[in-house]
Amino acid sequence: MLPEKIYSPSDYIPIIIQSSIVLGFVITAMLLTHLLGPKRKTKQKLLNFECGIEGMGNARSPFSVKYFLIAILFVLFDVEVIFMYPWAVNFRELNILGFVEMLIFSFVLLSGFVYIILKRAFVWEK
């Protein structure tokens, strides 16, 4: 066990200095390049560059729903992990019963996952 130490707010001053230096460097660097760099605006330069083809259409076109599906599934299965934290903390007290219960929980979760795989939700090109 490490000895307990009470931190006071003044102990965090180095962190504040560090973060202000980082932020300050980034901001000054970006401002300087913006101010110092030469600007020659011609029509050709302002056009979107798409492999030599002239840009057409709107950039805000809807994207494939597959991205959405995978993102949503990630959110769903990602969040279940939080139930493992309290279980891990009390792992010794809960003993073998807690382990079996967590196995059942994971099994139920996995049955949903297997369903998704069998339903071909992760197949990119159908």
Partner: protein, 458 residues
């Protein structure tokens, strides 16, 4: 506990039948699961169990309400075979969502802890948001689903705020500990009152009690009719059962606080439910409004909060569920046959060529009105008796007026069926459908003639 496990496991099994292309097996598997759950449920009778570190309490109250809900579920499953005939994609998912939602409904009758109440409400609601929108390409279904989702989540958030306040005051989620705290303190703090108010209001949202009913007619109309049947029966019964359990088991010491809220709920439900129902031209919407009015009657049993509350509520739930399922079942057939928006006119002359359907509808409507020899009469009678015993005679008078107004719209269907002419033909229905209708009507009549079987149970 086995009831819950069976229901949830059946849901998962049905989920996987989608890969075996076995449409014919779906309904049998689902009904087998539900019947097994019913058997396990009844075997819990008279065994008071506290499960999962006092998180759940299985007693006769929960067993009785679970049985009513499983009966409704079985009847709905029997109807589903014909209903989903035209649908060829993702049918097993609909069944499994029904079962997952039902898991939550079972939790709601047997919780002993706010955590379980919360999980029950959410497990019940979230699959329903999907089910309400299960007609993917119908804009009306989308709209119903979205409205239900927003209102449901809103209610959830309010519920959680209430639970947080109660937890902050009492320091516990356990029902008996909260109850002890309330009876031990002389003056209930304002945070606690606010917490109780929020919790009761949010459950009022879920059971569509006026003035928190505004989502109900739209959602009931837009959802697929079978899902509407489920929402109007199982979900409402589960919500009401949870409310009574919560108020008796937890907030009974603060009865003076929530009885005023319930008074407002009841009066507004009668007024809005009845006057809304009279104005409707669509039968589906009429049934939605009438279910709001029925919520008022059920809350009448809760506000009485005496030894008759539970049994009269059980009886009312049973009669209401059976009548609603029968009415919606006939509506499904008529709507499919006429391919219409299910106006009153589509019921014209039903008795001539489909005497069986007309009789089922007649019993359902009489039961909803509360005419003797159907279950509805004694349901209303016992609810009135319970609230008169607690000194709510003025509410009972309002309720009787409300029941009389109900005659106007229920009898309109009966008159259309029996006294109006139309060139209708025989409507084809499959065996499952007939079985479901026969069971619903038979129990409605049997329970109406011999009410003491149900009323003496709890």
């Amino acid at each position: 506990m086995l009831t819950l496990i069976t229901i949830a496991a059946t849901g998962i099994i049905i989920l996987y039948t989608t890969f075996f292309k076995s449409r014919k097996l779906l309904v049998p598997i689902a009904i087998t699961g539900a019947l097994t759950a019913l058997a396990f449920n009844i075997s819990d009778w008279n065994t008071n169990q506290l499960l999962f570190n006092n998180m759940m309490k299985i007693d006769n109250y929960s067993v009785a309400f679970n049985s009513v809900m499983i009966l409704s579920l079985i009847l709905i499953l029997l109807l589903s075979h014909q209903y989903f005939k035209g649908v060829d994609k993702n049918v097993s998912e609909i069944y499994s969502l029904l079962f997952f939602s039902f898991t939550g409904a079972c939790l709601l009758t047997s919780f002993n802890n706010f955590t379980m109440l919360f999980i029950g409400i959410e497990t019940m609601s979230i699959p329903l948001y999907v089910l309400a929108g299960s007609k993917k390409f119908s804009i009306r279904s989308n709209e119903a689903s979205f409205k239900y989702f927003i209102m449901g989540s809103f209610a959830t958030a309010i519920f959680l705020l209430g639970v947080a306040l109660v937890y902050g005051v009492t320091g516990s989620f356990n029902m008996s500990e909260v109850s002890e705290y309330i009876s031990a303190t002389a003056k209930i703090s304002s945070l606690m009152k606010l917490g109780i108010l929020f919790i009761v209001i949010s459950i009022g949202f879920k059971i569509a009690a006026a003035p928190f009913h505004f989502w109900a007619p739209d959602v009931y109309e837009g959802s697929p009719t079978l899902v509407t049947t489920y929402m109007a029966t199982v979900v409402k019964v589960a919500g009401i059962a949870a409310l009574l359990r919560l108020l008796t088991g937890c907030f009974i010491g603060a009865a003076a606080e929530w009885q005023h809220i319930l008074e407002a709920f009841i009066i507004l439900s009668f007024v809005i439910g009845n006057f809304g129902a009279i104005q409707q031209q669509s039968v589906k919407r009429m049934l939605a409004y009438s279910s709001i009015s029925h919520t008022g009657f059920m809350l009448l049993a809760i506000i009485a909060i005496n030894q008759f509350s539970a049994s009269s509520l059980l009886y009312y739930s049973l009669s209401y569920s059976l009548a609603t399922i029968a009415a919606f079942a006939v509506l499904i057939l008529v709507k499919n046959y006429k391919n219409s928006d299910a106006s009153y006119e589509s019921f014209n002359g039903l008795a001539k060529h489909n005497p069986f359907l007309a009789f089922v509808m007649l019993t359902a409507m009489l039961s909803m009105t509360g005419i003797p020899i159907t279950a509805g009469f004694f349901a209303k009678y016992y609810v009135f008796l319970a609230s008169v015993k607690s000194g709510y005679s003025w509410l009972v008078i309002c309720a009787i007026i409300a029941a009389l107004v109900g005659v106007a719209y229920y009898f309109r269907i009966i008159i259309n069926m029996y006294y109006k002419e139309s060139n209708s033909e025989k409507i084809i229905k499959d065996n499952y459908f007939v079985i479901s209708l026969i069971i619903a009507t038979a129990i409605t009549l049997a329970v109406g003639i011999l009410p003491q079987f149900i009323i003496g149970l709890i």
